[in-house]
C-alpha cells in the first residue's frame, strides 16, 4: 500500500498488417504505458511511420480547426449530448468535414470580399466628404493639358503665401477653431506646381487623392453612403448566415474534432514503437496485477494474430536495474492509494511524483497533514465552517487545485473539530468547558466538564496527563505543555521519516547500505532527543544531574557518537556539521504551538474588543452593533489566515522536516494509452 503499484515490462510483437487493429486494442485496454523506442536499440528495427490515413486526418483536422476559429467555437467545449462514434465516423467518411468547410468558407469568402469593398468605399466616401466644401465638380479636377491640381488639407490659410504664383485657390473649412479640416484645391500651371507645393509644405499640406466621379462631391458622398449601407447589410447577412451555420454544425464540429483528434493520435502511435519491414515490436509497462488481463485482453481482441509476453516483473532494487537497457531503466510510477489517501496525492506531486523505487509518502501525508492543521486551528468555531466549505468544495470543485484545497479544509476541519472539542474545548477563542470558580461555564452551579458533557468518568491517570487550568487546555496559558506535546509529535514525525528512509535504502541497496546511510542518522537523532531531554530537565526544571537524567545523558552522547561514526563512514566528516540541524528539525515543530497561540491571541483580542469594550462598556444599540461588526470581521480574518498559516505550515513540516529524510522524487508518472471521449460515445452494436 505504501509503495507505488508494482510494474511489469511486456513486449508485444506482430505483423505490420495487423498494426491498426493492435493499436485499437492497446488503447482499448487502457493499461499500456508505452516505452518509446530509441533509434538503434534493436537491430533491424527503426521507429515506425505514422499510419497512411493520418495525412488525410490531419488535413481534415486542420481545416476543421480553421472553421472552428472562424465560427468562434472552442474545441475544448462540451456538447450536451454525446454522438455515437459510428455516426461520427460515417460523417467523416462521407466527407462531412469538407462539406462543412465548403459551406462555411463560401459564406466567409463572400463576407470578406464585401467587407474589403466596403473598406475601400468608406475611404472614398471620407475623401469625398473632405472636399465636399469646395465648389468644384469632380470631373473638373482632372483632364487638363497645362493645368496641375493639388488637393489636400492644410493647417492654415495659404492664400497670402501663394499670391506670387499665378493660380486659382479654392478653400473650405477653417472657420471653426479646428484648423485641421481646412481643405484647399489649388489650380496652377504645370510649370509652377513644384514651386507651389514647396510653399504649401510650410502649411503642412497633405494631399488627398480626388476620387473619380462626376458632379458635386457632396452628392457623390451621399451616393457612396448608400452603397456602404447596402454593403453593410450584405456583411450583416453573411454574419447571420455564419451564426446559423455555427448553430447548425456546432455540435457536429465538436464531435468531428474529437474523433479526428483521436484518429490522429492513434495513427501517430507508430512513431513511438519499433517496426521492421513486415513486423512491429512494442515495449510497454503494465501494472503487474494487470499482466494477465492484458494478455487475455490482447488475445481476445486480436486472436492468435499477435504475440504478447511478460518480460520481467520489475523489482525495487536498484542493483537489478543497473544492467538494464537505458530505455528500460526508468519505471513509471502509478501511485496506489485508497479512496481517502488519493486526495493527498496532489501535495506530493506538487513537490514531485515519487520514484518507482521508493515509498510513496502520500499515506503518511494524508495522516499528518490534516492532523497538524487541526492541531493548529483547534477551535470548533472555525472547524465547522471549514468542514462545510471543504465538503462543498469536494462535491463541486472540478479543478485539481481547488479539490486539493477542499480536501485539506474538510479533513483538517475534522481534526480541528476533534481537537477543538476534546482537547482545547474552544469555540471562537472561548472555552466552553470549565471548572467552578474558573472562567468556565457553570450549569446549575456545577461546572461543565468533559466528564459531565460526555457522561463518562475518566480514570485518574488519564486526567493527570493534562494540565488543570480549570477549563480546556488553553493555547495561551498551557504553553509549556503544548510545546512539549508539539516536540513529541515532531520526534515521532521525524522518526517516521527516518524509518521510511531506512526502508527505502534497504529496498534499493540492501541492509548494509541502509544502516550506514540512514541508520547512522537515526541513531544520532535519538541521541540528540535523549540529550535534549536531559538538558531540559537540568536547565529548565532544575533537576539534579543524577538518576534518569544521568542515564539519558550517557545514552544520548553514546548514540550521537555511534551515529556520527556510522554516518561519517559513508558521508565523510562534513556530516558532523549537520548534527545541530537535527535539533533545529525538532524545534521546528514548536510552530504547532505558535500558530495555535497566535490564533487564540487574536481571537482573545477581538472577543475583548467586541464583547467587553463595545457591547458592555460602551453599551446601547451602537455599542452592540459595533461589537458584533468587530467580532464578525475579526473572526473572519482569523478564519482566512488559518487556511494560509495552518495549511502552509503544516505542509512545510511534511515537506521539509519529514519528507527530506527519505523522499527522492523525480519519478515519471504512469500514463497509459487511453482515449477520453467527452462528446462522442461508443455504441456497442456499431463497433
Amino acid at each position: 500500500m505504501l509503495l507505488p503499484e508494482p510494474m511489469s515490462r511486456i513486449v508485444i510483437a506482430g505483423s505490420k498488417s495487423n498494426l491498426d487493429e493492435a493499436i485499437d486494442a492497446l488503447y482499448g485496454l487502457k493499461m499500456i504505458h508505452l516505452i518509446d523506442h530509441t533509434v538503434g536499440s534493436d537491430e533491424g528495427f527503426s521507429i515506425g511511420a505514422p499510419r497512411p490515413y493520418v495525412g488525410k486526418t490531419s488535413e481534415r483536422l486542420l481545416s476543421l480547426r480553421a472553421v472552428e476559429k472562424e465560427l468562434g467555437i472552442n474545441f475544448d467545449s462540451e456538447n450536451d449530448e454525446e454522438m455515437s462514434v459510428g455516426e461520427v465516423r460515417a460523417k467523416i467518411s462521407s466527407n462531412s468535414v469538407e462539406a462543412i468547410g465548403g459551406e462555411v468558407f463560401k459564406v466567409l469568402d463572400r463576407r470578406n470580399a464585401v467587407a474589403q469593398k466596403m473598406a475601400e468605399e468608406t475611404a472614398r466616401r471620407d475623401d469625398l466628404r473632405k472636399i465636399s466644401g469646395i465648389p468644384v465638380d469632380l470631373e473638373l479636377y482632372r483632364g487638363y493639358d497645362s493645368l496641375a491640381v493639388a488637393v489636400g488639407s492644410v493647417k492654415a490659410d495659404p492664400s497670402a503665401a501663394l499670391a506670387g504664383i499665378d493660380s486659382e485657390l479654392f478653400m473650405s473649412g477653417g472657420e471653426t477653431k479646428k484648423e485641421s479640416n481646412r481643405v484647399i484645391a489649388l489650380f496652377v500651371k504645370k510649370a509652377d506646381k513644384e514651386a507651389a507645393l514647396r510653399l504649401l509644405a510650410d502649411f503642412e499640406f497633405s494631399e488627398i487623392a480626388v476620387p473619380a466621379g462626376t458632379g458635386p462631391a457632396a452628392a457623390a458622398a451621399a451616393e457612396s453612403e448608400t452603397k456602404i449601407a447596402s454593403m453593410k447589410a450584405e456583411v450583416d447577412e453573411a454574419e447571420k448566415e455564419l451564426a446559423a451555420l455555427k448553430e447548425k454544425h456546432g455540435t457536429d464540429i465538436i464531435a468531428l474534432d474529437e474523433e479526428l483528434s483521436i484518429e490522429e493520435r492513434k495513427g501517430s502511435t507508430p512513431l513511438r514503437i519499433a517496426t521492421s519491414e513486415y513486423s512491429f515490436i512494442i515495449d510497454a509497462w503494465v501494472p503487474t496485477a494487470k499482466v494477465a488481463a492484458v494478455l487475455s485482453g490482447m488475445d481476445k481482441a486480436m486472436g492468435g494474430k499477435i504475440f504478447v509476453e511478460s518480460q520481467e516483473d520489475r523489482s525495487r532494487s536498484l542493483h537489478d536495474v543497473e544492467h538494464a537497457e537505458p530505455r528500460f531503466k526508468e519505471t513509471p510510477t502509478k501511485m496506489k492509494n485508497g479512496a481517502y489517501a488519493t486526495n493527498f496525492e496532489y501535495p506530493v506531486k506538487l513537490l514531485s511524483p515519487p520514484k518507482y523505487h521508493e515509498i510513496d509518502p502520500t499515506i503518511i501525508l494524508s495522516i499528518f497533514f490534516p492532523l497538524f492543521f487541526g492541531f493548529m486551528v483547534g477551535d470548533i468555531g472555525y472547524a465547522i465552517p471549514f468542514m462545510i466549505l471543504g465538503a462543498y468544495g469536494l462535491k463541486t470543485a472540478k479543478s485539481k487545485d481547488f479539490k486539493a484545497i477542499a480536501t485539506i479544509l474538510f479533513f483538517g476541519g475534522l481534526w480541528a473539530f476533534v481537537f477543538g472539542f476534546f482537547f482545547y474545548a474552544e469555540m471562537f477563542g472561548m472555552h466552553f468547558i470549565g471548572a467552578a470558580g474558573a472562567d468556565g461555564i457553570t450549569v446549575d452551579g456545577t461546572a461543565v466538564t468533559w466528564q459531565s458533557l460526555l457522561g463518562v468518568t475518566f480514570p485518574d491517570w488519564f486526567s493527570g496527563i493534562f494540565p488543570d487550568d480549570g477549563h480546556g487546555i488553553s493555547k495561551l496559558h498551557a504553553v509549556t505543555f503544548l510545546l512539549k506535546i508539539s516536540i513529541y509529535i515532531g520526534i515521532i514525525h521525524i522518526l517516521i521519516g527516518y524509518i521510511v528512509g531506512f526502508i527505502n535504502v534497504k529496498m534499493q541497496h540492501g541492509f548494509k547500505e541502509a544502516f550506514f546511510e540512514k541508520g547512522g542518522w537515526m541513531l544520532s537523532f535519538l541521541g540528540v532527543v535523549a540529550l535534549c531531554w536531559g538538558m531540559t530537565e537540568i536547565l529548565i526544571f532544575e533537576n539534579g544531574f543524577e538518576g534518569m537524567v544521568l542515564i539519558m545523558f550517557i545514552v544520548g552522547i553514546a548514540l550521537i557518537v555511534a551515529g556520527a561514526a556510522t554516518t561519517m563512514k559513508k558521508e565523510g566528516g562534513a556530516a558532523i556539521m549537520e548534527l545541530p540541524g537535527l535539533m533545529g528539525n525538532i524545534l521546528s515543530y514548536a510552530r504547532l504551538t505558535a500558530i495555535g497561540m497566535s490564533k487564540a491571541g487574536m481571537a482573545l483580542a477581538f472577543n475583548y474588543l467586541g464583547l467587553v469594550m463595545f457591547a458592555t462598556e460602551v453599551g446601547g444599540v451602537m455599542g452592540i452593533v459595533c461589537g458584533a461588526l468587530i467580532l464578525i470581521v475579526g473572526h473572519l480574518m482569523i478564519f482566512t489566515l488559518a487556511i494560509l498559516s495552518a495549511g502552509l505550515h503544516s505542509l512545510r513540516l511534511q515537506y521539509v522536516e519529514m519528507m527530506s529524510k527519505f523522499f527522492g522524487g523525480g519519478g515519471k508518472e504512469y500514463e497509459p494509452l487511453e482515449i477520453k471521449r467527452k462528446n462522442t460515445k461508443i455504441v456497442e452494436t456499431e463497433v
Binding site: 513537490l351 509549556t480 521546528s588 505558535a594 512545510r652 515537506y655
Partner: protein
Amino acid sequence: MVDVGVGMIAVGAGLAVGLAGIGTGLGQQDVGAAAVGAITEDMSLFGKCIVLIVLPETIVIFGLVVAILCMFVLPGMA
C-alpha cells in the same frame, strides 16, 4: 513597587521574537523573490520553491522558543 525583573524578561522575550523575525525576513526576501521568478517560468517548481522559501523560517521559531522559555519558565525559576 513594580518588579523590574519581570519587565526585563518581557523585553527579552520581545527582542528574541522580533530580532529573529527580522532575520527570517531578510533570509526569505531573497529566496522568495527568486522563487517567484522561477515559478513564473515553470509552475512545476512550486513544491520545491516552497521548501526553499520556508527554510529560513526555522530561525524565527528558535526565537519563539526562547521567548516562550523567557515568559513561562524563567519566572518560575526566579
